[in-house]
Symmetry: C2
Subunit: 199 residues, 2 copies
DNA sequence: ACGTACCATATACAGCTGTATCATAATACG
DNA sequence: CGTATTATGATACAGCTGTATATGGTACGT
């Protein structure tokens, strides 16, 4: 056997390089050569770890989703343990909106992938829906807890509210990235929304 | 002069062909040759009417926006003249969600363009923000009228509500196109939202 | 009538793309 | 210690891309 190298780590490096290229120049500018150069390796190496471009794209998408979960878990770890529902939702919204550079990159590249997935059936269902469904459940749980504590406005449907929060934050995120709204304006809207839920 | 031909119409035909290709195979599959073939003309003709590819892309985006405005105006024309605010908002949401094929195409291609615009400054500001800002105003006006008539829930900020409606519908639209939600589920959410505004 | 301005086609070209091939370095194990 | 296995490199190739060139037709103003 040769200089045994951690494949998972190498693939992660390449996936990160892809994300950097996509965030800077757009997902359409992602080529195997561009990824290789960004990662500082030869073209052949990219071929070696991701046989084909389709697998490279898919692998990077999965990697992006993993990174995002990690980031979300880290943020949750900083909150007090029985986390107050409203603080939980605020954390989610802060994470979902492109406030800092990392979430900006995530939203930008994620949206580009989503656009791809709309016409490419190989990409579509798996990595997207799963992550969001999970988030959906977490948000609904937090809302349910708030409702049980009587902190929520009366007559709300928690599952619909969860879906509404996700859709709203996603729509706001794109509007920010497209330059239509500032981050502050978007934040004002989500605060307004939260204030309607928590009177 | 030669066989005088309506330039605007020819460009519209080509733009439509581009949109068809983008809706079927994705915006990344749009090439000058693909557009030419889809429109049933020669490659050179596409070059003739849109000198460069960048202009073709921009022209098609503008055309898409025009088509969308036209569609919106047509729908408004079918409503009674002092249109009831709630009916107005329902019309907007029905139009914004990818319910029929035309709005599906519009949302799909529009989202792909939005993803492009996030990294391509030449595409960004103009055609997007303008159309949405206009819509924003119309929605805020309708809400203002409803508020003046006392039909709205108390304590609502109409400009924020307008922005919320647009962001929500956009986020829901993408979730539908990505296969995460059905159209019916999305419709249920927007109805729920409207019911909160109009008690 | 006719040639000039416009519309359209066919084809060429250089560059980039994904993929395949050939070659080579490095190392863990028998 | 040598050899099979893994990891990297250099390069070739066919296809597609945007753009440029060269050429043909056609309707009108004069």
């Amino acid at each position: 056997m040769p200089r045994t190298v951690d494949h998972a780590e190498r693939r992660a490096q390449l996936a990160d390089a892809l994300v950097r290229v996509a965030a800077r120049d757009g997902l359409h500018a992602v080529t195997m050569r561009a990824v290789a150069e960004e990662a500082g390796v030869s073209l052949r190496l990219v071929q070696y770890y991701f046989d084909t471009k389709a697998q490279l794209m898919l692998g990077a998408l999965r990697h992006l989703e993993t990174r995002s979960r990690q980031r979300w878990a880290d943020r949750l770890a900083e909150l007090p343990d029985p986390v107050p529902p409203r603080a939980f939702l605020e954390a989610f919204l802060a994470e979902a909106l492109p406030t800092d550079d990392q979430s900006r990159v995530f939203h930008l590249v994620g949206t580009s992938y989503a656009a791809l997935a709309m016409t490419d059936p190989d990409l579509a269902t798996e990595p997207f829906t799963l992550g969001i469904d999970d988030l959906d459940r977490q948000l609904a749980d937090a809302l349910k807890r708030a409702q049980a504590d009587g902190k929520l406005a009366p007559g709300l449907d928690v599952t619909i509210e969860a879906a509404r929060l996700i859709s709203l934050s996603h729509g706001l995120g794109t509007s920010v990235l497209v330059g239509q709204r500032t981050v502050d304006a978007a934040t004002e809207i989500v605060n307004y929304h939260l204030n309607q839920l928590f009177p």
